[in-house]
Symmetry: C2
Subunit: 283 residues, 2 copies
């Protein structure tokens, strides 16, 4: 293994759930990521799906609670679940809030003086981590998709839209769809990008989709109707769907009666999401 | 809800994953249990499967990591996952060890002076909890099965053998099969039951199966071959299988290559276990 260290390894559904650590050049700190290798990866190269977690999460939440490995084994895909921010980089106040700093990297490259040295999750997810994965694991070059939850749903959709053709498919659970218009996004973008709201648009899916000009991308979104953050206006999927309609980008938004924002909700629809990606990746 | 308090409620796979607390008369403290109600339980009575967890666990481990709800929803069964010991009963030393006291009730009724007031998990699991469940949830009377992991696998098998006809089926993941012959069991039984080893036999599955004289009971056991506690002689499934052969009690022991003692192992074979119980319960 080049430049990565195995932290744990557990057989699961005939394959292996592992966690690795490595020194990240884009984040200037040690980072962990979870990776599930399906049985087929013992002998052949397979596609990879990246999972981006939400606020407060580490790589462990998806690994232990999402129930995704079962379906990754069946559909012959690798799952990669990184951490959600740089860790332990000693920036004053980095651990003060659940929705800013540690555990809240927002999948962007910071430009403010205080954060720009370390908070470059956009580069980490789109360039550094795929390079680490392709150098160390049996992935088919170019066969990758992306999905995520909440802040990670924002990350997945915005990253897919900013990189036409790089990801074969995209999906999200309760994504922050229009961060420049919600309290979570406004707080994070002010801190990481500064006061000039024009610069925020580069990371807002509802803005980005209007100028999307890449290959067809069918976006699947599940949103719990009983999700407190949905009713509080943090997620704003309707804004995104309206923008998709305007841009003629296909989106499937499923409002799921009774479901909340938790991993119980995520697990309930994970099979559908893995199938959504596998259909394209294994075509 | 009679005498129970809802602590959490999350929609999952069309049903509900809930946690309740209640004052236990057999344990003389407040106890929590997880319960998954499948969609069918909205309108009809269904069977119930009890899950007994292993050392150090609370009700949360099974609820968040086992991935069982998906299959309970498909097979129309309720899942009940209690805590593994009394909590906060202020017995000197109760929190000193991971394998004795809190989180390590061993599913027996203690007889030693120090522990006998509270450490009555056998009565709690076989009498009090089923009464609480049947009074508050739509269960079909008499349609119940039991399964568990490690210490909870010992609990499931010994409880099924001690109560012929009470449980329709039984299964276990990496159970402590012969506690009187392993370090975990010897430590726990000495503490809870005293020095007289004759009294220990009342809770040892390998002893109990030799005198089992009830309705047919097909016992399913999965054991990871790479499980450190298996290789260290804490689990001793071979002793149990030999005793079953002698007693002509059918047992299926599957040694699973590469799997360890974790919930990654449990999740991998949960579908088989739920199906094993549902086949009998829904017959």
């Amino acid at each position: 293994m080049a430049g990565i260290k195995e932290e744990s390894s557990n057989k699961m559904f005939g394959g292996w759930q592992k966690v690795f650590s490595h020194d990240s050049s884009s984040l200037k700190c040690s980072m962990k990521f979870g990776i599930y290798l399906p049985p087929k990866a013992d002998s052949e190269k397979v596609p990879v799906i990246y999972w981006l977690s939400g606020l407060t999460c580490t790589e462990q939440n998806f690994v232990t609670k999402a129930g995704a490995q079962n379906f990754a084994a069946k559909h012959n895909v690798i799952l990669v679940a990184p951490d959600t921010s740089p860790r332990g980089v000693n920036i004053e106040g980095e651990d003060d809030s659940y929705d800013f700093g540690s555990g809240a990297g927002f999948y962007l490259n910071a430009t403010t003086e205080k954060w720009k040295t370390n908070y470059n999750m956009y580069t980490y997810i789109t360039e550094e981590l795929p390079k680490v994965v392709s150098e160390n694991f049996p992935v088919i070059p170019g066969k990758q998709s992306i999905m995520g939850h909440s802040m990670g749903g924002h990350g997945a959709i915005s990253i897919a839209l900013k990189n036409p053709g790089k990801y074969s498919s995209v999906s999200a659970f309760a994504p922050i769809c229009n961060p420049i218009e919600c309290p979570w996004g406004q707080k994070a973008f002010t801190g990481y990008l500064g006061e000039d709201r024009e610069t925020w648009k580069a990371y807002d899916s509802t803005v980005l989709v209007k100028s999307y000009n890449g290959p067809p991308l069918e976006i699947l979104i599940d949103q719990g109707k009983a999700d407190n953050f949905y009713t509080a206006g943090q997620l704003l999927p309707d804004n995104f769907v309206a923008a998709c309609a305007e841009a003629k980008v296909p989106v499937i938004l499923r409002i799921q009666e009774g479901y909340d924002h938790s991993y119980f909700f995520i697990a309930s629809f994970m099979e559908d999401h893995i199938a959504h990606h596998a259909k394209v990746l294994n075509a």
